[in-house]
């Protein structure tokens, strides 16, 4: 039984949302939130650039115990609550968050503290120019305390990333900008965790390219760009819940 994804489907069925991306990023988010030192554990920061991932963020935080699972269903709202652990800002539109994360990392460097700044960005988001500005900036300022995780699900709103605006070879692009690159299976929590540990030791800012399957765990939604912003029918919800309960 996949309790995290079950929760995500329930939230999306009730409040609407991007099923494909949320199910795809679920493992990255739960691993990220359990690895980062947040709240009482420390002052790390986790930035999530895509507001559409809010259902998965909420569920992942509940899943690893930052707030009760009962609150998840009563309190879920599409508006971001800044005071929530792991969410430090009102999410700006796509493309802006990485620069903010870079600013935090720069401040942490200046203060010589041991904060790690994590930033989850999308692959389609790389179409946006500001991402590349931020990558150049982080590389120039040796922001080794900045760890970028790319949810490489291969899709964006109107189709596949390689059709709409090809990104490959993505790894080479990052390396040429002076970044350390680690590629992982984005559904393997252990691999993601190891990559996060390795990233902290690197002498350059690190990006973890996490290959994911959009719609992971629900057969009719897997790898389908159609489940990015369509509403789930009652039948679809039923099927999804049954598959995830197995």
């Amino acid at each position: 039984m996949d309790t995290l994804r079950l929760a995500i489907v329930k939230v999306i069925a009730a409040h609407g949302g991007n099923l494909a991306t949320n199910l795809g990023a679920a493992d990255i988010l739960s691993t990220l939130y359990s690895t980062a030192k947040l709240g009482k554990k420390g002052n790390d920061r986790v930035f999530v650039s895509n507001e559409e991932l809010l259902p998965a963020v909420h569920c992942a935080l509940a899943y690893i115990g930052y707030f009760s699972k009962r609150e998840l269903h009563t309190n879920f709202t599409q508006t971001v609550k800044k005071e929530m652990i792991g969410i430090d800002i009102k999410m700006p539109p796509l493309g802006q968050t990485l620069s903010i994360a870079a600013g935090c990392a720069l401040a942490a460097k200046m203060d010589r503290n041991d904060k790690t700044i994590y930033c989850l960005i999308g692959d389609g988001e790389h179409n946006i120019g500001q991402i590349w500005e931020a990558l150049l900036f982080a590389s120039k300022h040796h922001l080794t305390n900045l760890i970028v995780i790319i949810d490489r699900n291969g899709i964006q709103h109107s189709g596949h990333t390689e059709t709409i605006m090809p990104l490959e070879p993505l790894r080479t692009k990052y390396e040429s900008l002076g970044w350390n690159v680690i590629e992982v299976d984005g559904h393997n929590a252990q691999h993601i965790k190891e990559a996060l540990v390795d990233a902290k030791k690197a002498k350059r800012p690190t990006t973890i390219i996490a290959h994911t399957t959009p719609g992971k765990g629900v057969s009719f939604a897997e790898n389908k760009t159609t489940y990015i912003d369509s509403k789930l029918t009652a039948n679809e919800t039923q099927t999804a819940l049954e598959e995830l309960s197995e």
Binding site: I89, P92, S99, G103, A107, G129, E133, H141
Partner: protein, 362 residues
């Protein structure tokens, strides 16, 4: 008087001050997108969108970022970043922009304090006050050295010259031109009240309303669209009055033209509204009296009000050794022989005003 072009040196001129400020206040971080080169200024390259996000991140971590940038890029290139990364999260950040003043108007919907000081000295004081109050702000670096006013609290304007006939509100170094123009106009017996409003947003509503309450017309002199829009809002909402604008790089002639238009519209307002109050209907349009300054008189009560507003120059144009236009008009258009004969006997503004007042009280 045209303004000198801005140069990068203006930003550098502030640099010494900023570095001193940073020495005393550890959290200050200076950033620049390839505009200022100094070891203590973080260079972000020409990444105008990224630099706003970086500043937001620094502010989240308790820093106070000051960005030295250029009006050519900020805010036109990074409006969305200023809006979402900075304003949406209430982060304290000061943007200092040198260059030709522009695009202030696109920032007007944001909770950002917009300041256009008249001198470097004032700019320095505004930087200190916005940092102290942790106000996200956008400050245009002026090209002038000479300060205008000691009023450097954000959101406050100052009356730098008092007058009764018209209010001229201005911002930035243009205030110098406006003051010279007001001097010129005073020699023509037009008494200008000049409000210097270095803060473009949020505007000092109270001062504007109280001044317009007295002068009943307003001229906005500004280099870029911004102040005029806020003033128009205030007037519409609180104290409707004719508003004229001298815009871009207005010289004294353009400001004088705007002042004359505003005065004219003021007198038109009076002439059209007063007759209804007194029960004297205005004449049909082909019988209206056209004043030399472009004003239009439509009735005897209107003539009385116009006489109160009129300056000596205009009066002398219409009433002199050769003619008495007002008396002639009353005789031919109004067809009131008695009043006309009284007016024909008079040569002074005061005398005519008194006679008209008596006639109206009849």
């Amino acid at each position: 008087m045209k303004h000198k072009p801005h140069s990068k040196n203006l930003a550098n001129e502030l640099l010494g001050f900023l570095l001193d400020l940073k020495k005393n206040k550890d959290e200050i971080v200076l950033l620049s997108p390839d505009e200022v080169c100094h070891p203590s200024v973080i260079s972000a390259g020409i990444t105008h969108q990224n630099i706003i996000g970086v500043a937001a991140g620094l502010a989240l971590e308790g820093k106070y970022p000051i960005i030295l940038t250029n009006t050519a890029f900020t805010p036109s290139m990074n409006y969305a970043q200023i809006k979402h990364s900075i304003c949406q999260n209430d982060l304290p950040i000061t943007i200092l922009a040198y260059g030709e003043p522009k695009d202030l108007a696109i920032l007007r919907n944001l909770p950002l304090t917009l300041i256009s000081p008249a001198s470097i000295k004032e700019t320095e004081q505004f930087i200190v006050s916005t940092i102290t109050s942790k106000t996200p702000s956008y400050i245009l670096i002026p090209e002038e050295i000479k300060p205008i006013s000691n009023e450097t609290r954000p959101g406050k304007a100052a009356i730098i010259r008092t007058g009764e006939d018209v209010t001229i509100i201005t911002t930035g170094p243009l205030a110098h031109t406006v003051l010279l123009t007001a001097d010129k106009l005073s020699r023509q017996e037009i008494r200008c009240e000049v409000i210097y409003s270095p803060t473009v947003h949020p505007i000092d509503k109270h001062l504007i309303v109280s001044s317009v309450h007295k002068t009943r017309c307003m001229v906005v002199a500004e280099r870029t669209e911004g102040l005029g829009l806020f003033v128009a809002e205030v007037l519409c909402e609180h104290s409707p009055a004719p508003l004229e604008r001298a815009f871009g790089t207005p010289d004294d002639n353009e400001i004088i033209r705007a002042v004359r238009h505003a005065l004219l519209r003021k007198s038109e307002n009076i002439c059209t509204t007063v007759p209804e109050i007194h029960g004297h209907a205005p004449l049909q349009s082909d019988l209206h009296f056209n004043l030399h300054n472009g004003g239009v008189i439509r009735s005897v009560p209107g003539l009385h009000q116009a006489m109160l507003e009129m300056n000596q120059e205009i009066f002398n144009h219409h009433v002199n050794e050769n003619k008495n236009d007002f008396a002639t008009w009353v005789k031919e258009a109004v067809k009131d022989e008695l009043l006309a004969s009284k007016l024909f006997a008079l040569k002074t503004k005061t005398g005519m005003t008194a006679t008209l007042a008596t006639w109206l009280q009849r």
